[in-house]
Symmetry: C2
DNA sequence: CTGAAAGCGCTTACAG
DNA sequence: CTGAAAGCGCTTACAG
């Protein structure tokens, strides 16, 4: 015997919809929707009934329908230069975790330090009408900048700070960090301090500015070794050789990233050059492995995990329309003086 | 003087819609939709007119509307255990790039090697009705497995191979790789070969199986050092000490990952233990930095970039409903014998 | 090869 | 505090 009466009408897709939940709970779909989203102003007993219906029916909201109706998705776009720099992995991990807990999904985009690539990614991802945006630094194409502002999507900048109208950022002063390490080397008595950098992204150049500022009159442009190639162990080894060849009188080398410095340390070992006795070495970022080196690498610890967390929190507040009292958060840095200088 | 006749009706959002494009091109919305998606069976001149209209109006399709109407998004979910292992970064980079070129966006999820976390991510991301899925390996909760199959979303498995009904995978034999490196060590005359592993994820255990198989009768369980802690330089150094302390007669140590092996090499340097004269060291994965070590690290090169690329291509074919003749692609591996053994 | 109709599943105003 | 109506922007059958 078949069902005596027609069961309540099902959608063609067979999906359990908000409509079904509403019917089961004995309320209108709008009330069900409001109850579901935790909108206040719904009677407690109705909320209860809706929640029960959701559980019984195994209802799962459809993000696409939600996005279409509300013109807003639950996705957040995270744009970083590289995944192969552990720095950004730590940043992403913290941000993604925080966002997920607040109910946001993250779309990770990798720009490979190419402004054009960032612009293209922005264009692509903005189509989704993301709820929020996390981008690295402030250097981008004008088009990218106007895409950002024109979209009206809340946006927090990572790694650097910049005050300005409607600008939100969580980071630290790359310049101060560059200056502080250079100063620390000077305080230890090093006289001929080289700066060796790869990639030459905006933040690296800011560190270079800090290096110069610390040296002041004693700055010697011949001690700056800038290589636009990507940072790596192998390049660090090469640059170490280059510095010693071109400026045999250096007594310290400040590398703009730990992988370079670690590569240099290995090269010193290979060549039998004593660190820090013959030449001191310092790095930047406190990446994994630095304290395992021989000697342990002195470096600047950068708070990328904290940046990811704090930036995500700030963005969540913005997405919820809450007030953000501190739009420009400086999380500082820390000098880690170990054995290499 | 105002416009003589009512301009064509605009949506409240002010958004340029497919409707607008259709009007401008003088076709129906359906035809515009078909032209846009490159569906064949649309007259060439109409396609042309639609494309012109799209360009002139600056039309951007709405993924949410598309997803709602078609019950399918253009997003692909990529699930990996960790971002801090460079292996997976290479994998993701290749896959993401390939997918993007084909018009798919990727949602990266990190499971931290926790099956429960993978299950939760799957549940969350499946709500989006992704077009495809890329997951790591075959070990997951039963629920996760049925979520996968129940969703009906095309799925390709990464890193391992398994034949089976409707199973797609791109990887290599972890067991064979473990066996091959062990055999290579035996061929070089090493007698007491230890296996030192961290994380103890499924693929690591498969390598252990290969290690045992290669040794056969000569396998000594006391030479297996398994530590469930995450892999790192520091742990590699610790394990190196532990192996030498517990089994002073070992003449070779096969680490399940390069970071462990690199940490061990640094520890050997620190302790003045000669590699490979006193003890040989081998790693796995050929991560960055291995060839910079002293001595350069012997390891197994794993084709993760190729896996990411090939898996993405396979998934793209599946998502397009094309036939995939080879559902189980073994990309092999390569022994890299450098100075450490 | 092209189109009119209906619908995807939700939320936004607007009422009451 | 609750709801009926309309609409978000697209695509899927179904015709012709």
């Amino acid at each position: 015997m078949s069902q005596p009466s027609a069961p309540k009408r099902r959608r063609a897709t067979g999906r359990v919809t908000l409509q079904d939940v509403a019917v089961a709970a004995g309320v209108s779909p709008i009330t069900a929707s409001r109850a579901l989203r935790g909108e206040r102003g719904v009677a407690a007993d109705l909320v209860e009934r809706v929640q029960v219906a959701v559980r019984e029916l195994g209802y799962v909201p459809d993000p696409a329908a939600r996005a279409l109706a509300s013109a807003k998705s639950n996705q957040v776009v995270l744009l970083v230069p590289l995944l192969s720099n552990a720095l950004f992995v730590d940043l992403l991990d913290a941000a993604q975790r925080t966002l997920l807990q607040a109910g946001y999904q993250s779309m990770i985009g990798v720009t490979h330090y190419q402004p054009e690539e960032e612009e293209a990614l922005l264009r692509t991802y903005l189509m989704n009408r993301p709820a929020g945006l996390l981008v690295t630094g402030f250097d981008r194409t004008d088009t990218a900048r106007s895409l950002l502002t024109g979209s009206g999507v809340p946006c927090v900048h990572l790694m650097e700070n910049r005050a300005g109208d409607g600008l939100y950022s969580v980071g630290f002063s790359q310049e101060d960090a560059g200056r502080a390490m250079t100063q620390a080397l000077m305080d230890k008595g090093y006289q001929r301090i080289a700066f060796a950098a790869a990639q030459l992204d905006p933040r690296t150049l800011q560190r270079a500015t800090g290096y110069r500022a610390a040296l002041g009159d004693r700055h010697d442009p011949r001690l700056e070794f800038m290589d636009a190639a990507p940072s790596s162990f192998a390049l660090g080894a090469q640059m170490f050789d280059r510095v010693l060849a071109d400026a045999p009188d250096v007594d310290a080398i400040f590398f703009n990233n730990d992988d370079l410095a670690q590569g240099a340390l290995l090269q010193a070992l290979r060549r039998g050059i004593e660190v820090p006795a013959q030449v001191a070495v310092a790095g930047f970022n406190d990446l994994i492995g630095g304290e395992q080196m021989l000697p342990p690498l002195s470096t600047v610890r950068t708070p990328r995990g904290e940046i990811g967390l704090k930036a995500a929190e700030m963005l969540i507040a913005l997405m919820r329309g809450e007030a953000v009292e501190q739009p420009c958060v400086d999380l500082g840095f820390e000098l880690l003086m170990r054995g290499s200088c």
